[in-house]
Symmetry: C2
Subunit: 420 residues, 2 copies
């Protein structure tokens, strides 16, 4: 088998551990020099392929590649860009073939969430529909935890840990302040369509009365009366109320609460931020003093408090992707298969890209408590293994040392441009 180069790219919202996957891909590829020549990374995902903006990872030292394992975000740049189908935009695919052929690329590794696996699936059709021989492997990643088949998605476990740790810590704070000051604390977390991340906050509550006392999920339309009664009940019982709210929580009309009409002084609608909306509701209806936090990017970038299980799985999936390609597999995605909750046991399995693309895994109904404001024991059994273990990055001068790669471009061979 002739030596071919490989293309690897990161796509969609980045995570605390997507670079651990990159580390797994690059370290494993370097072990297969008989089949894989160079690994070219796409600068900003698939856009790097379309614009022939490739990064030659062979210039990166062994130390730099190793350091990717503890570095958050996307070392090669990510993108939000979805390919159309071959039928809709053949030119895109012709361009990919042109670039891949020019750089002798025979392997395609695409690391992302649902949209990205759709892209990977479409690219995998190049061989069949357009006659360009390409081994195409998707690699899962998304804090949203909404990819099907896999036990969980790399990136999610670390966000879950961040949210559970944060609401536990803030809960201790509010409990201290409640007598004379703040009685309600609201932490807004990601999850526009599924409540996985908010649900993970529930792990912090190990005993009755532990924070968070309420979780607002996008799956459950907010019943204001019921919610306010629960807030007051928590304040009555425990002296305070700690709430985790998903950014995607909706009102009974199905509208995002975050878009429910905050306006600035000029009358512009304020974009984003459901926490202040909930806070205002509590203030105006219950008159309770509140504080609110919006974790936003901090939660998915928080490599300093990453889950060790998450880091290990992220790495293992990158490694598996290369090994799949080496063993002749194609148009598949490695996944995590769970065989036991406690102790957590898992191994790597696979699924066809065709089956992954455009399927969203939502929270099962039996993961949500009957009143809609918490998680069930079943949910806890699912989530708990995913936040196990710490995997601290190295520190220097009091700060985590994250690697910045050289990211040296591959000299262009084509004299054509491609408009994105």
């Amino acid at each position: 088998m002739a030596v071919k180069n490989a293309f690897y790219a990161q796509s969609g919202g980045v995570t605390a551990v997507i670079n651990a996957t990159a580390c797994g891909v690059l370290e494993t590829a370097r072990l297969h020099a008989d089949k894989i020549g160079k690994v070219y990374a796409g600068r900003n995902g698939i856009i790097g392929a379309l614009t022939e903006d490739l990064i030659d990872t062979s210039h990166e030292s062994v130390e730099a590649i190793t350091a990717l394992r503890h570095t958050p975000a996307g070392a090669f740049g990510s993108c939000r860009y979805k390919l159309k189908s071959i039928e809709e935009n053949r030119a895109q695919y012709e361009r990919l073939i042109e670039v891949f052929a020019a750089h002798n690329i025979g392997y395609f590794f695409y690391n992302g969430g649902g949209d990205s696996q759709d892209t990977a699936h479409k690219v995998s059709q190049l061989s069949e529909k357009m006659g360009y021989p390409l081994t195409c492997i998707g690699i899962p990643k998304t804090v949203d935890n909404d990819l099907p088949f896999t036990d969980n998605c790399p990136g999610f476990g670390s966000v879950a840990k961040y949210v559970a740790v944060s609401i536990r810590e803030a809960g201790f704070d509010v409990a201290s302040m409640a007598l004379t000051s703040t009685k309600v604390f609201i932490l807004e977390v990601m999850g526009r369509h599924a409540g996985w991340i908010a649900a993970a906050g529930g792990l912090a509550a190990e005993q009755a009365g532990d924070p968070p006392h309420l979780i607002l999920l996008p799956e459950i339309a907010l019943d204001q009366e019921k919610f306010l009664a629960k807030v007051q009940e928590s304040v009555n019982n425990y002296g305070y109320c700690a709430i985790v709210v998903s950014e995607g929580v909706k009102n009974s009309a199905g509208k995002f609460l975050a878009d429910a009409g905050l306006k600035d002084a000029f009358g512009h609608t304020q974009l984003g931020g459901v926490a202040p909306v909930i806070a205002n509701l509590i203030k105006s209806k219950l008159g309770l003093k509140y504080h609110w936090a919006v974790a936003d990017y901090l939660q998915r970038a928080a490599r300093h408090i990453a889950s060790r299980v998450d880091v290990e799985q992220a790495y293992a999936l990158g490694k598996a992707a290369v090994e799949f390609a080496m063993s002749g597999k194609n148009a598949v995605m490695p996944i995590v298969i769970r065989t036991n909750d406690s102790p957590y046991q898992w191994h790597i399995g696979e699924v066809k890209l065709a089956e992954v693309a455009n399927v969203e895994k939502t929270m099962p109904a039996d993961f949500i408590s009957e009143d809609g404001f918490g998680i069930t024991d079943k949910c806890r059994r699912y989530l708990l293994p995913l936040i196990q273990g710490e995997d601290y990055p190295p520190y220097k001068n009091g700060l985590p040392q994250y690697v910045k790669l050289k990211n040296i471009g591959v000299p262009k061979k084509l004299h054509t441009q491609f408009k994105i």
Copy 2:
């Protein structure tokens, strides 16, 4: 010298390390059983004294006391409550004497920021003005870092570390996303009157182009035009712009931007949150895609990423407070005295409470860069030692194990109530 009981209480906004100070107080007091009988903690600060709501810390195990060192927030409850002067409200002081006398309290340790040291100072006048013999020691604590004389305030170093780590991590995230998505990220941090916390974000920027690219301090009125030009410049030069904004930043009319007029659908002014105000400004004037985070309580509760130096100093100050009392000192507060920046060298000193009360330490002008959007090397030399070292709490089931004390009340001896 007769054995007397001691009173210890926590006051004001809590921190990640105020319990480390409590640990220092309690462990040291237990070494002086010849002079100190029991340590009674005030439930919710001075309110616990006024209402005779005392906690008997002798019921807490050695392990529980030790665990306070790694537990955030105020284990005995804190309060926001300022005593009036003896002249203005003599009844309060008579009540304190009544409670202290009933419980044979001869030592008073009050752990807090500026307002709390004012309270400690007033209580220290009990001996002199009202003839009740009491040894009174203040112990510094405040994330605001605004107490005078001391090199820094326990709690600040850990918030500083949290903010620097967070903006570094979020900066990596935004850099990954900038080509096709978010170009500006805004992190709102605490600091209503002084920019210490926001300034600490600047530690993350070690090289030109590193995030944060801009810091908005309460000391500098926001010049919109200049600010927007800087944001655009950063996006042009680095592809993105990461901003740390202090909650206390003001407009040129001296008004808090956070109060500048966001209204909800009912026309109520939205309270708090300068980050969305800045985000809206950037969106409307520059048309750049943004994300924003508000760290709020997460920053000061983040024991999981506490500064080791901060933990050590917090403990040392609690220990010193008891040793001061044992050596006959009175009406003083232990402080940190710095003798060298690098390597950081410090020891414990002292200052009279009379000199501390109601003095606020602001950021020196030469700590702020000429353009007003960053910190100087001098500021960096001051801040850097304070975030050194990690001091991770123990974990179980993927979560930090923070102690909840039994907090068993001391049986009341008085049959009178006191209205707060």
